[in-house]
C-alpha cells in the first residue's frame, strides 16, 4: 500500500508539470482556436529565464549586496520569471500568430513549430551545448509518512502548481479580463465588435499561458536540476496530448488530463519496464480518443470546425 501511495505522490509531482503546460495550450486554443506549437519551447525558455534570475539572486546574496533568505529568492524567481516569460509568449504571438490569424490554421501551426526551432537553436547558439545546473534553492528534506517518503520539494511543487491553477481559474471567472477571454472563446467574430480588442486578449492569453509554462519550468528545474535546450520538445508534445485529452479550451479538463497523464506514465513505469512507458501511455490515449474523440470536457465534434 505504501508502494502505491509512494507512486501517487510521484505522479502528482510529474503530472503537475504536464498540467501547468497543458493549461497554456488549452487557453490559447479556447480563445484563438489554434494550438501554440511553440509552447513546449516557451516552457524551456521559461526554465532558462528562471535559471538566470535564480542565479542572479543567489549571486547577489552570496556577494552580500542583497542578502535574501532562500524562500524569498524562490518566490521572487518564480514571479519575476513568470513576468519575463509572458513577454516571450506575447512576442511569439506577435511574430508567428497575429499575421496568420486569417490564414489556414495549419499554416499557423507551421509557424509555431518554426518559432520553437528558433528558440531551441537560439538557446544552443547563445549558451552552447553544455547543460545548465539549476541552483539549489530549497534544502531537500525527506519526511516519512507511513512508509511513504515525501520530500518538501514535492509538496511545494504540487501546492504551487495547484495554487497557480486555482489562481488562473479565479482570474478567468472573476475578473473583467477573464470575462473578455471567455467571451472571445464564445464568439470571436461578434465580441470584437463590442469593443473588446482581439489583439489585446490574444496577447494576454499567450502571456498567461507562457507565465504558467515558466512556472512549470522553474518547478521542473527544482525537481530535476538539469536544463538542456531540447527539454521542451518532449514535454511540450506530451502536454499538448494532455490538453487535447482534457477537451479543447477547457481549463479544468487540461489540468485533470495533465495529472492523468502523469499518473499513467508513473504507474506504467513502475509496473512495466520503463522503456515501455511511451508505448503504453500513448496506446491508452489512442483508445480513449477513439471512443471519446472530443476529450473529457470538450464539446462533441461538429462539422463546422474552421480549418
Amino acid at each position: 500500500m505504501a508502494f502505491f501511495f509512494q507512486n501517487v505522490v510521484n505522479a502528482l509531482q510529474w503530472g503537475s508539470f504536464y498540467a501547468l503546460i497543458a493549461l497554456g495550450y488549452s487557453m490559447v486554443y479556447g480563445v484563438l482556436m489554434l494550438f501554440n506549437f511553440a509552447h513546449g519551447d516557451i516552457f524551456m525558455t521559461g526554465a532558462y529565464i528562471g535559471f538566470f534570475v535564480a542565479t542572479l539572486f543567489v549571486g547577489l546574496s552570496a556577494s552580500g549586496i542583497l542578502v535574501l533568505p532562500n524562500w524569498l529568492i524562490l518566490i521572487l524567481t518564480i514571479l519575476l520569471s513568470m513576468f519575463l516569460t509572458s513577454f516571450v509568449g506575447m512576442a511569439v504571438e506577435r511574430i508567428a500568430y497575429r499575421p496568420l490569424r486569417n490564414a489556414p490554421r495549419a499554416s499557423a501551426a507551421i509557424t509555431g513549430l518554426m518559432v520553437g526551432i528558433i528558440l531551441e537553436t537560439g538557446n544552443l547558439a547563445l549558451l552552447g551545448a553544455r547543460r545548465q545546473k539549476f541552483p539549489e534553492l530549497i534544502v531537500s528534506q525527506t519526511y516519512d509518512i507511513g512508509g511513504v517518503s515525501v520530500t518538501n520539494t514535492k509538496i511545494m511543487i504540487v501546492l504551487v502548481s495547484i495554487g497557480l491553477m486555482v489562481a488562473l481559474h479565479q482570474f478567468v471567472r472573476r475578473t473583467k479580463w477573464g470575462m473578455a477571454m471567455r467571451a472571445m472563446a464564445y464568439d470571436f467574430v461578434v465580441v470584437p465588435l463590442m469593443g473588446v480588442s482581439i489583439n489585446l486578449i490574444a496577447a494576454l492569453t499567450f502571456g498567461l499561458g507562457s507565465a504558467l509554462a515558466s512556472a512549470a519550468g522553474i518547478l521542473f528545474g527544482i525537481a530535476y536540476p538539469v536544463l538542456d535546450p531540447y527539454m521542451g520538445i518532449l514535454f511540450g508534445w506530451k502536454a499538448f496530448v494532455a490538453a487535447i485529452l482534457g477537451g479543447r479550451g477547457s481549463i479544468l479538463g487540461a489540468a485533470l488530463a495533465g495529472f492523468l497523464l502523469g499518473f499513467i506514465e508513473i504507474f506504467v513505469a513502475t509496473i512495466f519496464p520503463s522503456t515501455l512507458r511511451d508505448l503504453i501511455a500513448y496506446s491508452i490515449i489512442l483508445v480513449i480518443l477513439t471512443f471519446r474523440p472530443h476529450g473529457f470536457f470538450g464539446e462533441p465534434y461538429s462539422a463546422q470546425l474552421r480549418l
Binding site: T121, W237, H294
Partner: protein, 438 residues
C-alpha cells in the same frame, strides 16, 4: 511586343529588359531542348569541371553550385559565380537556343505519337542528365537520392494534409514501418546476418525482389494506417492530429522495445540496392500515380471532404471510403519511401522517425504549397537544397531556415505554389506555335 513596350515607356527597368530578352529568344524553346542543354552542361562539367575550377582558383569543382565552398571561404564568391555561368548557364542557354527549332519538331512528333512515349523520352533524358551531373561526386549522388525520396514523402503527405485537409502527423510512423519492414525482409532473405541467420534465398536475385519488398513494406505501413484512418471517421482537425501523433510515438516506441531489430541502436547491413536509377524510377512512378490520383474523380472527392464534409456527404460522397482509401494510399507511398530510405542510408534507427522528422516533412509540404503536386516537388527540392547549401553555417542553419519558412507562411499562407494542377501535357508539348497547331 518589344516595339510596343519601347514606344510606350522610354525608361525600362532592368528586369523588363531581361524579360523581353527572354521572351524574344527563349519563349519557343521546349522542355526537350532544356533537358538536352542540361545534359550538355553535365557532360561539360564531367570533362572540364575540375581543371576549369583549378584554373579560376578553386580547389576543385564545386559540389553544389558552390554554395558550400562560398559559405566557408567568401573569397571564392567570384570564381563560384564564374564557374556557374561558364559551366552551367552558358551551355544550357546556348544549346537550348541552338536546337530549339529542331527539338520543337521532335517534341511535336513524339507528342503526336503518344503522350506516354513523349513523357518517357523526356524522363529518360532527364535521368541521363541527372546521372551524369550526380556522377561527378559521390556526395551529389546521396543528395539527389535524398531529394527524390523527400519528393515522395512530401507528395504523399500533401495528399492527406493538402488535398484532404486533415492535419496528419503520422508520416514519420508510416516511414518507420516501411523502413523496418523493408530492412527486415531484405536482411532476412538475402543477407547473411548474425541476428537473422544466413540468407534464405540466393542474394543474386535480391535486386529483382527489391520492388516486391518495397511493395510489401508499403502495404505494411498501409495496415498501420488503419489505426489512424478508423478514428478519422468520427473526428478531424486537432483530434486527428493527436491520434496521428500518438501513432508516430507508438511506432517509434514499439521499435525501440524490439530487441530483435536492434532496439534504439537501430538496424544496419541493408544491401546496396537503392541505386540512383531505382530511386528515380520509384519517385517518377510515385509522382505519376499520385498526380493521376488527385486529378481523378476520386481525388476530387477528397477536396469535397476538405471543403465541407457534411455537404460532401449530402452529395452522395462516401466520406468514410474517401478517408480510408486516402490514408491507406498516402501511407503506402510513405512506406515505400521509408523502405528506399533504409536502403539508401543502409542504416535505420527509430530515433530518426520522431518529432524532428515530422517538423521537416510538414515544413516541406507547407513550404511548397498545399493541394499541388508541383508545389510538393518544389518544396521538397527547395527545402533540401537549402538545407544542404546552408550546411556550413551549422547551428545558424536552423535559425535561417525557420525564419524563411515563417516569412513564406506570412506572405503566402498556403505555400509557394498552392492549388495548382500539374499538367504533364502542357509541360512536354512543343512551344513553337506552328508545331503546336500541326
Amino acid at each position: 511586343m518589344t516595339v510596343v513596350s519601347e514606344t510606350i515607356e522610354k525608361r525600362r527597368s532592368f528586369w523588363s529588359i531581361v524579360r523581353d530578352w527572354w521572351l524574344q529568344y527563349f519563349s519557343e524553346v521546349p522542355l526537350l531542348a532544356w533537358l538536352v542543354g542540361a545534359l550538355v552542361a553535365a557532360i561539360l562539367e564531367m570533362l572540364v569541371g575540375n581543371p576549369f575550377a583549378r584554373l579560376i582558383g578553386m580547389p576543385r569543382g564545386p559540389v553544389l553550385f558552390g554554395f558550400l565552398i562560398v559559405l566557408k571561404t567568401p573569397v571564392l564568391i567570384p570564381p563560384a559565380i564564374l564557374y556557374n555561368i561558364v559551366i552551367y548557364a552558358l551551355p544550357v542557354l546556348l544549346v537550348a537556343r541552338l536546337i530549339g527549332g529542331l527539338s520543337n519538331k521532335l517534341a511535336a512528333w513524339l507528342f503526336q505519337r503518344s503522350v506516354m512515349l513523349s513523357t518517357i523520352a523526356h524522363l529518360t533524358l532527364m535521368y541521363v542528365a541527372l546521372h551524369v551531373w550526380a556522377g561527378f561526386n559521390d556526395y551529389r549522388v546521396l543528395v539527389v537520392k535524398l531529394i527524390l525520396l523527400a519528393i515522395m514523402v512530401t507528395l504523399s503527405l500533401n495528399v492527406v494534409n493538402g488535398y484532404m485537409g486533415e492535419f496528419s502527423c503520422s508520416h514519420p510512423g508510416f516511414m518507420a514501418l516501411g523502413a523496418y519492414t523493408a530492412s527486415i525482409l531484405s536482411i532476412l532473405f538475402f543477407v547473411d546476418d548474425s541476428t537473422f541467420g544466413p540468407a534464405l534465398l540466393p542474394p543474386a536475385i535480391g535486386q529483382f525482389a527489391f520492388p516486391i519488398i518495397l511493395i510489401i513494406s508499403g502495404a505494411v505501413s498501409s495496415i498501420g494506417a488503419l489505426l489512424v484512418a478508423v478514428p478519422s471517421f468520427r473526428t478531424r482537425g486537432d483530434y486527428l492530429a493527436i491520434i496521428s501523433l500518438a501513432f508516430t510515438f507508438i511506432v517509434k516506441s514499439l521499435i525501440e522495445n524490439m530487441e530483435i531489430v536492434g532496439g534504439p541502436r537501430g538496424l544496419r547491413g541493408q544491401p546496396d540496392w537503392a541505386t540512383l536509377p531505382v530511386v528515380f524510377v520509384w519517385t517518377m512512378i510515385c509522382v505519376w500515380v499520385i498526380n493521376n490520383y488527385v486529378r481523378s474523380t476520386f481525388g476530387k472527392t477528397m477536396n469535397a471532404v476538405r471543403d465541407g464534409e457534411m455537404a460532401a456527404n449530402a452529395m452522395t460522397i462516401n466520406t468514410r471510403r474517401t478517408k480510408m482509401v486516402t490514408f491507406l494510399f498516402a501511407a503506402f507511398w510513405a512506406g515505400v519511401a521509408g523502405g528506399l530510405l533504409a536502403h539508401v542510408l543502409r542504416y535505420v534507427n527509430p530515433g530518426s522517425f520522431g518529432i524532428q522528422k515530422l517538423a521537416e516533412v510538414l515544413a516541406m509540404v507547407y513550404f511548397g504549397g498545399l493541394n499541388s503536386v508541383v508545389g510538393s516537388i518544389v518544396g521538397a527540392v527547395g527545402f533540401n537544397l537549402l538545407s544542404e547549401a546552408l550546411r556550413p553555417l551549422e547551428l545558424y542553419k536552423w535559425i535561417i531556415i525557420p525564419i524563411m519558412i515563417i516569412l513564406i507562411m506570412i506572405y503566402r499562407p498556403t505555400g509557394l505554389i498552392a492549388f495548382t494542377e500539374f499538367d504533364v501535357k502542357k509541360l512536354i508539348q512543343p512551344r513553337n506555335k506552328k508545331d503546336r497547331e500541326a
